[in-house]
């Protein structure tokens, strides 16, 4: 029987009827509609903790970016009044006449409000983390992708990596901060000038693993252009790697700022930062615990939320969990 010949529907007494065999229609493959990102978010929100974490993140962002507008922090506002120094919450409120939101956590070593300081510092820390992570991740991933793909570039970059990775970064940052000043933007510059290198190196290894997988080799044999191999074969695999990186990178800058301020090469005194508050509080953390523990817990709180959200996003972005 000829395939192209249309079958004429014939009425049958048993109730059956012929359906024409549409050759073009039969070639069409019907698959359920699949959107990668929709599945990612479906899996992501399946976990109840993620919703809670997101709410906490929004709360944190709002409080650290909106509250300082209404509660401006000035670390020198009581600097001339020695009686305001190092007051516990109860004493500070007693002194300023009744309950005040401002002195809910007492005052610091210069009579500064700890609570206002924390809101402003959290803003600095989050901004710093986001900017540094954005710069370092973008540069690191782009260079890392080329580094992993090109063998010639690999040889050159390995030499550079071995050299730069061995220059003590504390020294590098302190010299840079010394040369260009210790303001916010120069601190960002110091953290990003070599910060991308570690990310690029990590990414290079990941790209290399996928690059030599059989299906990539097959694509190459079939003559697929490099751009298509990178964008279709390699990058989709990298999304979960990137979110894992993001989960560790974002909190790491907050930790880094705290650490560098602690050893004395951090931001300048004009910029409120969690690291500086912790560094100032640690000198007398037994006598004036209200100066030390609040910034410690706030920095821990921010980093844990960012870390867990990033990790869970990484889990959700792995297509194998979408079943």
């Amino acid at each position: 029987m000829n395939d192209n010949e249309k079958l004429v529907p014939v009425k049958d007494e048993s109730g059956f009827r012929f359906i024409s065999n549409d050759a073009i229609d039969s070639e069409r493959i019907i698959a359920p509609r699949y959107s990668y990102w929709r599945s990612v978010f479906r899996v992501f929100f399946r976990k109840k903790t993620n919703t809670i974490l997101l709410i906490l993140l929004v709360l944190m962002l709002v409080s650290s970016f909106v509250v300082p507008i209404f509660a401006p922090y000035d670390y020198k506002e009581n600097v001339t009044e020695a009686t305001m120094f190092n007051l516990s919450p109860a004493k500070a409120m007693e002194k300023t006449g009744g309950f005040s939101f401002k002195y809910l956590l007492g005052t610091g070593s210069l009579g500064n409000s700890i609570l206002y300081g924390i809101f402003s510092s959290a803003k600095t820390s989050i901004t710093l983390a986001v900017i540094c992570a954005a710069i370092n991740m973008t540069v690191g991933i782009l260079i890392g992708a080329v580094w992993g793909y090109s063998k010639k570039f690999d040889q050159v970059m390995l030499v550079i990596y071995q050299i730069i990775a061995n220059v003590p970064y504390i020294l590098l940052i302190s010299v840079l901060v010394y040369i260009i000043g210790s303001g916010f933007s120069s601190f960002v510059f110091a953290l990003t000038i070599t910060g991308w290198l570690g990310i690029a190196y990590f990414f290079r290894t990941q790209v290399m693993i996928i690059r030599d997988r059989d299906y990539s080799l097959a694509s190459k044999c079939l003559g697929t252009p490099i751009t298509r191999v990178v964008s279709k074969n390699i990058l989709p695999f990298m999304i979960s790697v990137i979110s894992t990186l993001l989960a560790t990178e974002l909190p790491s800058y907050i930790s880094m700022e705290v650490f560098l301020s602690f050893i004395g090469v951090g931001l300048s005194a004009e910029v409120p930062s969690l690291g500086r508050m912790i560094q100032q509080g640690q000198m007398a953390f037994r006598t004036f615990p209200w100066e030390f523990w609040p910034p410690v817990f706030v920095s821990a709180f921010i980093t844990i939320i960012l870390y867990m959200l990033g990790q869970n996003l990484a889990d959700a972005s792995d297509p194998r969990t979408h079943m």
Partner: protein, 527 residues
């Protein structure tokens, strides 16, 4: 393999050189050199030309430049011409005073000679003209100076540094005509009966000896000189600073070298194994007790040096971390998604996400209040207890990272064919996890073992600061704050060497542990 290692080592040396070069450029050329006077009282007290002259002497000491003072030059040339009596020569006195006259000094033949000679060598001549009040009287510190100054070439600075990195002791080191014999030979150690290598004409008396102090074998053949500290440990060699015990010397009854065997004991704190050559005149006391001129020695101190403190804390923390972290990681993988896995994960998240400063303080607060452990190192009544909290706070993050990776690699291995095969053969879960999977999972972790052991030598910055441990961890940060260029360079060389060594050793260990891995480029599945 040999060729590969040689290439690797040569390349490592090259990168070490470049790192040192970069750091030298950072500290000497990119940082304003005036910062070294920030806390210098002498500098504050000096005025006018004396201040500038003082700056030059300090810059020379810190290794920024070299300079020659005209009066020193004058002294040298006159001594060459007239012998030791030159100071009384009227010409010498007149020539010395000429530079105080700003309008005449250039016509002096000695000054012209000085200028010519040093300008040929690339020096620039700097004249600090006398500073006077309006009435013609000299201001305090206003004396004139004539200097020839030459900035140090960065490349030359590095070559100099590298040249002085190692010094070898030879039997011709000591310059002394009265020294009758020069030798280096094996001898019986008079103090413990073991053998030793003794030298005469060398700087140290004993070049190799054994004693009860860590690391038990001591040598004086090769000395490593990482550089000299300028501010933090004024004028001392950094290698000495970090390896000399800090504490009060203790004396005991000992026999002096001349009196060994006589049974005459005297109280002294000197360790006779560390005797060095004494170039100055010997006292009668020394003549009676020493057979030779090797009379200066270090004191015995019952304490640990900076590097030992850091190493003890670090190595115990590392051992604890491996003993705890690996089994817990295995357990977590075996009971995936059960309670133990969840608790372990919570711990990992806590350590990974919370700033290290925060959790070190949290554990310090718990340790000091709940367990009544000593907080600051120096104030501990029982010294050994002071090591507990620093060790724990160092082990905490290490345990977490080992747990994390061990769990991850174990889970990755769990679906392998060899595990299914082992299970089908009826092996117990304990055996499968304990020996088969963990052995394969360890492949990824073996590489980091040398790094974590060698890393103990560099100390820990935060932990040592929080507990005020007298260790090496804060050497670099303190040096940066004090602008102690010598220590910064020394730390860089030290850290870089350790990290390069750690990677090479890690690769070797990995190749040894897993025979499938070959470091040879032609073999194995290298990409």
């Amino acid at each position: 393999m040999k060729k590969y290692m040689l290439k690797r080592i040569l390349f490592s040396l090259f990168s070490l050189l470049v790192v040192v070069m970069v750091v030298m450029l950072l500290v000497y050329n990119l940082t304003d050199r005036k910062v070294i006077f920030q806390t210098d009282d002498t500098w504050n007290k000096r005025n006018e030309n004396e201040k500038i002259y003082y700056e030059y002497t300090m810059y020379q000491k810190y290794g920024y430049l070299t300079f020659v003072n005209f009066s020193d030059y004058l002294g040298r040339t006159y001594r060459a011409e007239l012998g030791d009596e030159y100071t009384k020569d009227p010409d010498f006195i007149a020539d010395g005073k000429i530079i105080q006259k700003a309008d005449e000094y250039l016509s002096n033949p000695r000054v012209q000679q000085f200028k010519e000679e040093y300008e040929k060598e690339g020096y620039t001549i700097r004249y600090l003209s006398p500073v006077t009040f309006k009435n013609g009287r000299q201001k305090p510190g206003g004396r004139a100076y004539l200097l020839a100054v030459k900035e140090k070439n960065p490349l030359l600075r590095m070559v100099d540094y590298m040249k002085n990195l190692f010094t070898v002791e030879t039997k011709n080191q000591v310059q002394d005509e009265n020294l009758t014999e020069r030798f280096i030979r094996f001898e019986k150690d008079p103090y413990n009966g073991l053998f030793c290598i003794r030298g005469s004409g060398t700087l140290h008396k004993y070049l190799l000896y054994f004693d009860g102090r860590f690391p038990f074998i001591h040598q004086n053949f090769i000395h490593l000189n990482l550089g000299t500290s300028f501010t933090a440990y004024r004028g001392q060699e950094i290698t000495k600073v970090i390896t000399t015990p800090v504490g009060t010397p203790y004396s005991s009854m000992q026999e002096y070298p001349s009196l060994v065997g006589t049974g005459r004991l005297e109280e002294t704190a000197v360790d006779f194994h560390t005797l060095r050559y004494n170039p100055s005149e010997l006292t009668d006391f020394d003549k009676e007790r020493f057979p030779d001129r090797y009379t200066v020695g270090d004191y015995r101190i019952k304490a640990l040096s900076m590097i030992e403190n850091s190493f003890v804390i670090g190595i115990i923390a590392t051992i604890i971390s491996y003993l705890l972290g690996l089994p817990i990681g295995i357990l977590m993988a075996r009971h995936k998604d059960k309670l133990i896995d969840k608790i372990g994960n919570a711990y990992i998240i806590f350590i990974m996400a919370v700033p290290s400063l925060a959790y070190i303080f949290i554990f310090a607060a718990i340790g000091t209040t709940v367990f009544k452990l000593p907080y600051k190192f120096a104030t501990a009544t029982v010294p050994i207890l002071a090591y507990i909290l620093p060790t724990i706070s160092l082990a905490l993050p290490h345990i977490a990272s080992l747990m994390k990776w061990m769990r991850r690699y174990m889970i990755d291995q769990m679906n392998s064919d060899y595990v299914k095969f082992a299970r089908s053969q009826g092996l117990s879960e304990r055996e499968i996890f304990g020996t088969h999977i963990s052995k394969n999972a360890m492949i990824y972790l073996v590489h980091g073992i040398p790094a974590s052991i060698l890393g103990c030598l560099t100390g820990a910055i935060i932990t040592e600061r929080v507990y005020a441990v007298p260790g090496v961890g804060n050497l670099l940060t303190n040096a940066i704050n004090a602008h102690d260029n010598g220590v910064i360079i020394a730390c860089t060389v030290f850290y870089t060497t350790l990290s390069i060594l750690a990677i090479i050793l890690g690769d070797l260990l990995l190749a040894k542990y897993d025979p499938r891995i070959s470091l040879n480029k032609d073999k194995g599945g290298g990409r």
